[in-house]
Symmetry: C2
Subunit: 333 residues, 2 copies
């Protein structure tokens, strides 16, 4: 019997289609392997080609003075960093000039590396770069919202194979994020007598254990009860805070370890699937919001949204979240 | 300069990325052509294979008594038609038994046909089948919402090449649809002194003309001002009504003509792109709602949602809606 589960965090109903369900192994990625060189002369993100990118905004170096992570403006930015926001409206149209910030976080000098295989110490540098850039973006008063994300593989929308993440600061607050805030606020003020929906939810997943993938002192990684798609994993910080940028160095150490473990379990278990991850966060100006809680969503791109999903926003998940979590827990590392 | 446009109907902001914009021709579909037979012995939707499908729920026949359109339960239904809805909840989880209806509308006996190339009279039969099944689904008291949609091509999530649409009745009201209703209700009661947002919006597009693709007595087809993706087309009925199922025969005739024209312009102009279309509608029980207005959204699948879209719900559209509309208007038929 299929189930229709409520994702309390997103407010979406999800159909867990047990009749169509596949075994975890059936989701293994079937892409052609191709040889990727360690270094590419034409890649703007490779060492020696630093002059091919716009001027660096941030870098982290190792003890030998070589960079491990670099941040640069996106050469093909979706928004323009220069200018002022002008609003235009007529009877039925509303728009703003497309002002905003868009940078690339080059995650490693190695062209052929993948995040799952980097050392946790290196992933810490990437996470520190996210923190630095997120806080810097929010200092720009034209920026209303900042999103950090990674596209891994063609199926996840990447166009450059050198490992990188992106960060975008938009001049508007996204409607989807607003809807989620509304869910959280409604829960906080009207439903649960002042409890953070995310804290409550995390406690539930931790107690029930069956959807937990891994855990450490500061973070819990699990396949949510109403996962929108197969092998969707959420990484929640145990300390309540609405803004990623206010993460401590100690927490960054723990996050690097758990993010690596989640990505490595996907890499080994599902044969390096395409995936996106996103850091969902508010601004440091809203960091004391008791109702919102930052987190990371890791979304393997194993299925395709079709007309049903477009027309309802509901998802049909052809895997059981409990089985996906068990499968990931049991991957041999 | 890029623009950030508000899609008033969906409540979403869209980045119109002019710096990244492509020419309309650049969106042409580059899939390999493959030979599709007129009839396939193994296809359950082909004539002669009617016994391979579950029992028919509806059919339309031509003057010779041969079927033109058949409706059958989906053999791989996402939901179960038998049973009662049982709700379960604990502290942090909520779910329903996955009861619901799911049928396939087989659009033509011809295996190799495509909707864009069918005669308008034949498309009328398909649209009549949608009407019949939508109204029948809503008679089932377990059904809260009904969505009619079509997936054309692999990139749009179809798995069977024989032309077909689908209809699903869910036991819950989808969150995304609820959010859109909220936008429309807010507009109706609090913003525009009792005007339907959709009627107002259609008037704006009709007056400004530049995004209109085609029009007839009963319908207007246009690329919306804040189209979420390239060549997105909305077909709005001119008569205000919230429920598709209450469409008249005369309107079905006009809808068949305009739907065919839109699909044919996409087919000829962009070389048979993959697409989805969805019929957005309320129940006939809510058909007198003054704030909602049914319509059809046609969504060519020319770009891929990546981390930015997942994390914000905002879309980056790399085409100018005005240019896309002009391109479609000028396709030679």
């Amino acid at each position: 019997m299929p189930e229709v589960r409520l994702n309390q965090i997103t407010g979406d109903w999800v159909i867990i289609a047990t009749e169509r369900a596949k075994r975890p192994e059936d989701f293994k990625h079937k892409k052609e392997k191709k040889e990727v060189p360690q270094h590419s002369a034409s890649c703007p993100f490779c060492t020696g080609n630093e002059s091919m990118t716009p001027s660096e905004t941030f870098r982290i170096t190792d003890s030998d003075g070589n960079w491990t992570v670099r941040c640069v403006p996106n050469k093909f930015s979706a928004l323009t960093p220069e200018g002022i926001i002008v609003k235009k409206r007529d009877d039925f149209k509303e728009c703003l000039t497309g002002i905003g910030l868009h940078e690339v976080i080059i995650e490693t000098p190695r062209h052929d590396m993948t995040t799952a295989l980097l050392a946790p110490e290196h992933i810490m540098d990437i996470l520190k770069a996210y923190r630095n850039r997120q806080l810097a973006f929010y200092e720009d008063e034209r920026v209303e919202h900042v999103i950090v994300f990674k596209n891994h593989g063609e199926g996840a929308g990447t166009s450059l194979e050198h490992p990188h993440s992106q960060i975008v600061g938009t001049p508007v607050f996204p409607g989807q994020v607003m809807n989620r805030l509304n869910e959280a606020i409604r829960n906080y003020y009207y439903v649960n007598f002042g409890d953070c929906l995310y804290c409550l939810y995390m406690k539930g997943e931790k107690d029930q254990k069956e959807r937990v993938v891994c855990e450490n002192e500061h973070f819990l990684a699990f396949v949510p009860y109403a996962a929108l798609s197969p092998f969707h994993v959420w990484i929640f910080p145990k300390r309540h805070n609405a803004c990623y940028g206010l993460i401590t160095d100690e927490e960054i150490g723990a996050l690097a370890v758990i993010l690596k473990e989640v990505l490595l379990r996907l890499y080994m278990g599902l044969d390096n699937p395409d995936y996106n991850y996103v850091v969902r966060s508010l601004s440091p100006r809203g960091s004391d919001a008791k109702y919102f809680h930052w987190y990371i969503a890791v979304v393997p791109r194993l299925t395709k949204a079709a007309g049903f999903e477009l027309g309802t926003g509901m998802f049909i998940n052809t895997s059981m979240p409990e089985e996906s979590a068990k499968f990931l827990r049991e991957v041999e590392l």
